[in-house]
Symmetry: C2
Subunit: 542 residues, 2 copies
């Protein structure tokens, strides 16, 4: 995150001024600070009032920011009057030398779209003589360029000349915005022929080898052209389709803020202008009209809401917590199932336990195969290794199961010959089906309810056994070894590794809302299948 | 998107005031407007200056917003003085009746964290008598509650009583914030026992049945407790771990803004408070320290950057455009390959064409199998249907291949017996491997380069054939039928269906940066494999 300062007016309607700037910085994940030069009472229809901020207080705001924070880019917008402009220049010079000045973008705001004068006439001199020489880039529109040069601009060729003439006033680059003029592809081709050294960027217009994308879409008839002239002679011409929209209030503020944001991120001037133009263009193209007049752009087209909270020391497993909370009742029915409680009390009929162990033996075959499928689906050695490690654990668990059964007089042969219960088939085949359908994360989701649930059961029984009156005891419990296995360090280490894997996945590949919903559905389904598995094991009594 | 108005002060440092409010609204995907009551020259260390805005102009800003926009929630922050408070009340009453007033959250800001007085003493009466009765919720902290009640608050029980006493002042709910006090679990348990009707929300503290999540993490020793009292008698106690952090500047502004945002979205007061508290807590927990003093929260923890631009009428296939632009050189080498050019000129040696058709026959077997795998991985009938439709297309394409070969005197038997070139095996098996590894979208990505590339080749050759001097012609071209097949309406309809599918996927399930990178890698790989396929076909000459 980089820090940016905007020195500009406030727009109560929120579409322009520092409000547009700060929203743009936020949308581009940077941190915005501001010095307000004037307040406007304004909406989409027009400017109803202006309250100029005393020059001294403008300077004080700039000082407060620059005294405290490292600033990585600055933009100026509406400076209101000559005094505020001069105070701004003095404050910047007080804090920075030519060498230490961060990238400075000056949007020379003079007149609002609705025709309201936003810069006192006597401020023009301060703007050009004092501020321009400090700037990385100025971003005048057609009327501002006309005002600054005292001549009319009629054609792309006029724009080209105006941009290079403005460069002589001291900024290191000039972006002359053509939003208030339209051009055709013929005009652009003519300009490109006259200026063969200029780089023409045809943003969102189709290039060669993309006829398949253009077939349903005629080339737009009217274009908007911006001209960027940089000291050193490099010129870039940015061409994009004209959008017929009334959601254009604050376009200039948004563009210069997005440029400042890209410069703060370390982009070159031309890259910053190209990305900021695309951002602003999409802001207009995706805007939903609000208000009776010229509404704001959509500044937030570039961001989406995260479905999973970030990991913090206080909540290291936010994704798993979300899963468990999302099916809290079902999860409780699973981990505090009567089967588990009676097992903890030592009152579970042996027949039920034997039936469970036999079915679990079958289930673990699916479980091992699902991890083998996970390894087969993994494109990196560490993933293949961890999946294989789990299979090795399962093979050891199987040995324990055989030993249990031997204690109860059941041979390995009888174990193998036991018919699979439908709860076992349902759960096992569901794992395999998810493994076929989805990617490795989805399969991990399916394998999680079993891993975590048995870990929770182990911890719960072990803790309850230490509490008088819980009825749960390890001493003399025929199932003690089973409980101690799942509460024990080896299994619990596997639980923690599984938690870590799944949380790391959610951070490395944060899911869209749709994908998160799918993951949660898989978790819920497996929790339900686990509960059905205990139900099945208890049912043998009846 | 809902529209929200904040009436508050401006913080040049950006961490509090309207700046925090607007950033919060944006992070929660709502649209913010603002009426500024006072400007502060402020940073993380303290408040260096305050410039009060004339009351009349505060009213004018509110009018500008409310005259034009439908507002779904309002929050007030620092109102600065009695006159601004009264003007605010009058403006709200002018625009709304009791019945039409949107949810109104009042953060009764009196004193800054750094001790600076932010509300003139004579404003207190206007605040409580005029504004409180209009509010949905007021959100005082401990010192503000003490000021409002003229008594000290020492314990959770004091907070509880203070909240219900403040409710008598007219707001429909009171959230008394305990951020400046700490409590222990014992205190909270005692409170819960004394007030059995209160709902205790233990945010980010582990609940029952979640020992697996708590095992590495001791319960926090100090807690923060907020008390929410609603008219009607419902009380909610919000408990969360205290975070030892200096990034707390603007916490109150952020919380009340997040509550207003949730209310604008239609949440109940208690749900709004619960979600806003979680949002604010994470803002502190994930903040990166900036500035020398109390730095701002991280307001943007809940959003991520989108990797793919939105679809617009001017750019209906942004994802595909991104893919093609990302491997532009390779794509051009593929679709304008010498094999294709010579095929268009009719100068391609027959041996090359036959070799190509024979290998393509084998490739199409993989291609059909990959679509079968796609159907097998699809959990919805429309997806199964579209994959199956494509297999039917491929089976018809195979018939065309057989007919071509018959023309060149090659029997079906010879076609089947042709040994697979390694370029064919590489490409075909790569499709199958991606089908094993990933989900349906990833497999679709792998199948896209073939579908789109042949479509592009068809369109390009057909268009070039109409241009004098291109050397490409359909008339008398032995490969005319091949060209017309791929340029023809049936194949082009399949291309458009494929484009639509892939773009719709990117919208329905926007990928994380990591996932997008994987998708692009698959696309690049397949473009490379396509080029290698033409290379192989041309090579037979040598």
């Amino acid at each position: 995150m980089r820090n940016i300062l905007t020195i500009a007016g406030s727009d109560s309607g929120g579409g322009a001024g520092i409000q547009a700037d700060l929203r743009t910085f936020a949308a581009l994940k940077n941190y915005g600070t501001s010095a307000v030069t004037a307040l406007t009472a304004q909406n989409t229809v027009g400017v109803q009032g202006v309250h100029g901020v005393p020059a001294e207080f403008v300077g004080q705001q700039i000082d407060s920011v620059l005294d405290d924070l490292e600033i990585h880019a600055i933009k100026t917008g509406m400076l209101f009057d000559a005094e505020n402009t001069r105070v701004t220049v003095r404050a910047l010079k007080r804090h920075y030398s030519d060498r230490t000045m961060p990238p400075l973008v000056c949007d020379p705001v003079c007149v609002s779209t609705s025709g309201h004068t936003l810069l006192a006439p006597d401020a023009l001199q301060a703007l050009t003589e004092d501020l321009f020489p400090l700037t990385t880039l100025i971003t005048p529109n057609k009327s501002e360029a006309e005002l600054l040069l005292s001549r009319a601009i009629h054609s792309l060729e006029d724009m080209f000349r105006a941009a290079s003439d403005l460069l002589l006033r001291g900024p290191r680059a000039v972006l002359l915005k053509g939003g208030h003029m339209t051009a055709t592809l013929v005009d652009v081709d003519a300009l490109a022929r006259t200026h063969p050294d200029a780089c023409v960027v045809r943003e969102a217009l189709y290039d060669d080898n993309m006829e398949i994308l253009a077939i349903n879409r005629p080339q737009p008839e009217t274009l908007v052209v911006d001209v960027l002239c940089e000291a050193g002679g490099r010129t870039t011409v940015l061409v994009r389709p004209h959008i017929d929209s009334s959601s254009t209030h604050g376009t200039g503020c948004t563009l210069s803020a997005a440029i400042a944001s890209a410069l703060a991120d370390g982009a070159t001037v031309s890259d910053a202008v190209i990305s900021a133009t695309a951002y602003t263009h999409l802001g207009i193209a995706t805007a939903v009209k609000i208000g009776a007049g010229h509404g704001p752009l959509n500044h937030l087209h570039s961001v989406s809401q995260m479905g999973i909270p970030p990991r913090t020391p206080g909540n290291p497993y936010p994704f798993t917590r979300l899963l468990i909370n999302g099916s809290a009742t079902l999860w409780k029915e699973y981990v505090e199932h009567d089967f588990v409680r009676r097992l903890g009390q030592g009152t579970l009929p042996q027949a039920s336990f034997i039936h469970f162990i036999k079915q679990d033996y079958h289930y673990l075959k699916y479980y091992a195969r699902a991890y083998s499928l996970l390894a087969a689906k993994s494109a990196a050695f560490p993933l293949i290794a961890s999946a294989t490690q789990t299979i090795m654990h399962v093979l050891r668990e199987i040995t324990t199961h055989r030993a249990f059964c031997a204690e109860f007089g059941i041979s390995e042969d009888e174990l193998e010959r036991t018919e699979e219960a439908s709860a076992t088939t349902a759960y096992g085949c569901y794992l395999m089906d998810i493994g076929i359908q989805g990617d490795t994360t989805k399969l991990l989701m399916a394998l999680l309810a079993c891993l975590l649930g048995y870990g929770e059961v182990g911890l719960w029984l072990k803790r309850a056994a230490t509490r008088a009156g819980s009825g749960i005891a390890l001493e003399g419990n025929p199932y003690r070894r089973w409980i101690e296995d799942y509460a024990g360090p080896e299994y619990q280490a596997a639980v923690r590794a599984g938690l870590e894997t799944i949380e790391a996945r959610a951070v490395a590949d944060p899911p869209s809302p749709a994908r998160l919903a799918e993951w949660r559905a898989v978790w819920d389904r497996c929790t339900r299948l686990e509960k059905a598995f205990w139900d099945m094991a208890l049912d043998v009594e009846g």
